[in-house]
């Protein structure tokens, strides 16, 4: 990926600057050191107060093993685990694939493609809450617009989408894809644009067109970005609260809940905060590897950060 190469180049330049600076100034000393500490202090303070403290507090709240017995004997919890895996697995991968294909569509230079992009980006520009509320009503079995359209076109009564487990889950996942697809398309489009044109020219000279050009130039150069985006969105999807909460509302009978909403439900509807924390903490075996992988990937591609 060319961004990585750029970052590496910048990194090399920085190393040179740094050593020269070190000779000139001999690192931080005296008053400068105090300034540096003072500048770093606000972030350190909010990090300790609102990240480290809550994490420690959460671990303490969810440390009782009995909570996990209670959790695993709750069928709603097991459903939520399956839902979460489907939500993350399908929601993210389908979307990333679509976004990758769409970025290839949007890279073509036509005036109407630019105009289309402005409309296409609307779901991302709209706040989640109104958008998901609208989708909730759109899918209403009795008066929702989707069934009205089905009735007008084919004179059939559509199903009550949000009253069944699988269609409810599918609605949540689709809503999440609808909302975030433009964002990832734009990111992958930027990645495609960063592929040097000379590579395509060279490939053309060698006679590669169409699929071969895609397989041997675009794909290898985009693979890393694609992977980082997928991992990042998996983390976002794992923590996504709004789509489930507002599209299906977790219903019917809490069968479409994911871990993020189930935790909140336990804590604030059933008033079992410790069980809520335990539900969230049970996602850690999935979250921690993702976080470690991502931190390595992001650090690698950013040089210093």
């Amino acid at each position: 990926m060319s961004v990585t190469q750029q970052a590496l180049a910048v990194g090399r330049g920085l190393a040179a600057t740094r050593s020269r600076r070190h000779v000139l100034f001999g690192g931080l000393h005296g008053a400068d050191y105090v300034w540096a500490i003072a500048f770093a202090l606000p972030y350190a303070a909010i990090f300790l107060a609102f990240v480290i403290y809550p994490i420690a507090f959460g671990i303490w709240m969810g440390s009782d093993p009995a909570l996990y017995d209670q959790l695993f004997s709750d069928p709603r919890y097991l459903t939520a685990v399956v839902n979460t895996l489907l939500y993350v697995g399908i929601g993210v991968n389908v979307k990333m694939f679509l976004a990758f294909m769409l970025s290839g569509f949007f890279i073509r230079k036509r005036w109407w493609i630019k105009a289309l992009m402005v409309i296409f980006i609307l779901p991302w520009a709209t706040p989640a809450l109104p958008a998901y509320m609208s989708i909730h009503w759109f899918l209403n079995g009795q008066w929702g617009m989707l069934n009205n359209i089905l009735y007008a076109l084919f004179a059939i009564d559509g199903p009550t989408y949000l009253n069944e487990h699988w269609s409810g889950l599918a609605a949540n996942i689709s809503a999440y894809i609808w909302k975030t697809l433009p964002f990832w398309t734009v990111i992958l489009l930027a990645g495609r644009m960063a592929v040097p044109q000379e590579l395509y020219e060279a490939a053309a000279v060698d006679g590669a067109t169409g699929l071969r050009r895609f397989a041997h130039v675009t794909l290898p150069l985009m693979a890393n970005l694609y992977l980082v985006c997928t991992l990042l969105d998996m983390v976002f999807a794992l923590g996504d609260f709004n789509a489930t909460y507002f599209v299906s509302g977790g219903g019917p009978a809490m069968s479409t809940e994911v871990l993020a909403t189930l935790g909140i439900r336990y804590a604030f509807t059933i008033a079992l905060p410790r069980l809520g924390v335990a539900a969230v903490m049970s996602a850690l075996p999935l979250l921690i590897p993702l976080v470690i992988l991502l931190m390595r990937k992001l650090r690698m591609s950013e040089g210093q950060l």
């Binding site: 500048f39 509320m133 009503w137 210093q304």
Partner: protein, 295 residues
């Protein structure tokens, strides 16, 4: 390869022209599908907001008698859920602007230390930011709720402001560090030789040159704060303290919800971020392609 070129030579120019038109037509049709996909839920919002209460519970696809009655009700606070609508709108602005200001201040100070002053162990700061960036905010909601009670900030706007600043700052540090690399260190060095202290360098050199990144991150923070729901909902519960997002979701509590009022509220709530987003799209795109990615 020579085989394919041989085949190609046989075909007439007309074939290629037709093929080109075919591809163009197919992509136009695909574009139309994309428009329908993107716009339908937004259209649904307008349709309901423009309809009367009876019109919603019909089988129409277009508003039967479009009128602005719902918007009038929202703007004049003429419904009991909306009694303090403009006050709550103000709350949303307070939260949004405070989060933006704090994020820019804290983020730029931190990345100045790490990137320009090269504080030893500064990597710990960037790692902390990176970690916060990849931890889902909703997973910390329950402990943060409890902690805000401990800090005595329950039901106070500052609790939401602090929590959201925490989640917006990592992205700020990320973007500032990236952008800061394009500002030559020689500027700092020459200022230093002229006797400037770090505070002066920060204000006179660093901040002015970082302006584009500040705009991008500021927009991001404002949108994040305005659009956020979960923390607003958990931390603010009285009509006096809540923001528009919480007030909007309150409509879902009641069974006989006036959906047209709700959608009118939703549209008014969604307009500022949409305008801001399209207004600053150029800067946002610049910020995003700089390597940061956050939804």
């Amino acid at each position: 390869m020579s085989a394919t070129t041989a085949v190609r030579r046989i075909r007439s120019p007309l074939f290629y022209r037709l093929q080109r038109y075919g591809v163009e037509l197919a992509s136009l049709a695909f574009g139309l599908v994309l428009v329908v996909w993107s716009v339908t839920p937004i259209y649904n919002m307008w349709k309901i907001a423009l309809d009367s209460h009876e019109g919603i519970f019909g089988d129409s696809i277009f508003p039967e008698a479009p009128n602005l009655e719902s918007f009038r009700v929202v703007v004049t606070q003429d419904f009991w859920y909306l009694e303090r609508f403009w006050h709550q709108f103000g709350n949303s602005f307070t939260v949004g602007l405070s989060v933006t200001g704090l994020t820019l201040l804290i983020g730029s100070l931190a990345s100045f230390t790490v990137g320009r002053m090269r504080l030893r162990n500064g990597w710990m700061l960037t790692n902390a930011a990176l970690m916060t960036y990849v931890i889902p905010a909703s997973f910390l909601a329950i402990p943060i709720y409890r902690i805000m009670q401990i800090y005595g900030l329950g039901n106070h706007l500052s609790s939401v402001i602090l929590a959201l600043t925490t989640f917006a700052t990592p992205y700020a540090i990320f973007i500032f560090s990236q952008y800061g690399k394009s500002i030559p260190m020689e500027l700092d060095e020459s200022a230093r030789i002229d006797g400037a202290n770090p505070l002066q360098i920060y204000f006179r050199i660093y901040l002015p040159l970082m302006a584009p990144a500040l705009v991008a991150v500021g927009t991001y923070a404002l949108l994040l704060a305005w659009n956020e729901y979960l923390y607003n909902f958990l931390l603010l519960s009285t009509p006096q303290s809540m923001t528009v997002a919480v007030a909007l979701a309150q409509f879902l509590n009641s069974d006989e919800s006036p959906w047209n009022y709700m959608m009118a509220t939703a549209i008014i709530y969604a307009l500022p971020p949409i305008i801001l987003y399209y207004g600053s799209r150029r800067y946002m795109a610049a910020g995003l392609t700089m390597g940061g990615v956050k939804g």
